[in-house]
Amino acid sequence: MFSRVSDSELERHIPALRRFAWSLTRDRDQADDLVQEALLKAVSRWTQLRQSGSVRPWLFQILYNAFRAGFRKARMDEVEMPSDSDREHPVAIGQPDDRIALRTTLDAMMRLPEHQRVVLELVAVEGLTYDQVSGVVGIPVGTVMSRLSRGRERLRDMLDAPAAVHLRRVK
């Protein structure tokens, strides 16, 4: 068999890839487009894979690179924070869903700036190690941790003060 990773092995990771893609694009159709693109890249690059134990981070990395390579350009709605800025900023003002009340913790996470959201998704939801996240996103482990820390604090602030978030919106 040419392929080192079986299709059934790849399929096991598709739900996780869809979640990750959705946390990047915040749009289900776009997310599935991105997963499709990543899977196409993955199966056409089978020679690059060394160890089957690392399939999951490997797939995440392909997907994230595909997102960065072209996907993001198509989206004009992304309000990107200056990288790693520690400045306070209002909760997700100007984002497309900014009038929807926070219903779930997931809703709150989707309001984090992208660089924090990605790290939080990979660590907290998908259970990757800091080293693996560092490889997927292409940043040092220390940066992973600082983004994680700020993302988590901001998430907590949003969830602690839903009333404040509401007030800001109701005019």
């Binding site: 040419f2 739900p15 899977l39 199966v43 939801v125 941790m145 907590r156 969830l159």
Partner: protein, 255 residues
């Protein structure tokens, strides 16, 4: 995350929440948290946020994986768009192996050496009828009630006409058919480009069930499944981007 020594830092606390500490350091952090209830509250809150995120994310993605993300579909797309000859061969080999694996789990292979590939009858019906400019339908789309009654009577079970208008498809009508296994029928739709898409149904001789499959023969692609009562195939032009979406929608209709 391991190897930290000395005073407990923020990094230790996060690694504690994420269960990425080695056992020794973990014990030190636990001792620290026991002595610092204020910090403990914050760390516990982080922990419950993670649990909530996982729960929400799981619930948000409990829907079935769309067909176009199935590996069979990815392989097919790769094969038809392959730029590199070697990749084409490799993907083909994998597809055959995977196809054989699927095949052995489906009962149509057990039918013996004379068994044909699945839904050959659906593909023939598409070629002969659906693509024919004049003879596509015997009952046109304006007589829906009559069509539904005729096909349901023919199949001996209720059957709805899938509404595919959201995909931009126009319903043209349908016809009764004879299949490999007994009575069958077909609903025919037109894409905006004029290409035809057909929804084919037939009664089953053996009540078999299967997951989604797809096959391509020449320029015709079919997506098919069997639910124990009926066999379904959505057929169209292999190059069309709409066929897979139509199949997904039809499957939802007949669930």
């Amino acid at each position: 995350m391991s190897g930290n020594v000395g005073p407990i830092g923020e990094d230790d606390l996060h690694a504690y929440v994420d269960e990425q500490l080695d056992p020794d350091r973990r014990r030190e952090v636990e001792a620290y948290l026991a002595a610092n209830p204020e910090v403990r509250r914050r760390i516990d809150a982080y922990g419950s946020d993670i649990a909530a995120l996982r729960r929400d994310a799981g619930a948000a993605f409990s829907s079935p994986v769309p067909i176009r993300l199935r590996m069979t579909e990815i392989r097919r797309a790769l094969r038809t768009t392959a730029i590199h000859r070697l990749k084409q061969i490799a993907a083909g080999v994998v597809l055959v192996v995977f196809g054989a694996a699927i095949g052995s789990s489906l009962r149509w292979q057990d039918a013996g050496p004379t068994a044909r590939a699945p839904m050959t009858d659906a593909m023939s019906a598409y070629r002969v009828f659906a693509k024919s400019p004049d003879g596509a339908v015997e009952i046109d789309g304006t007589k829906r009630v009559m069509l539904v009654n005729r096909i349901a009577g023919h199949l001996g079970q209720d059957i709805a006409i899938p509404d595919l208008s959201r995909l931009g498809l126009t319903f043209l009508g349908g016809r009764l058919l004879a299949s490999d296994e007994g009575p069958g029928g077909m609903f025919v739709y037109a894409e905006p480009s004029g290409e035809r898409i057909a929804v084919y149904v037939k009664t089953l001789a053996d009540g078999r069930r299967s997951a989604f499959g797809s096959r391509q023969d020449g320029d015709v692609i079919a997506y098919y499944w069997f639910d124990g009562r009926l066999g379904y195939a959505v057929t169209g032009q292999a190059g069309s981007a709409i066929v897979a979406n139509a199949a997904e929608m039809v499957r939802t209709t007949y669930r």
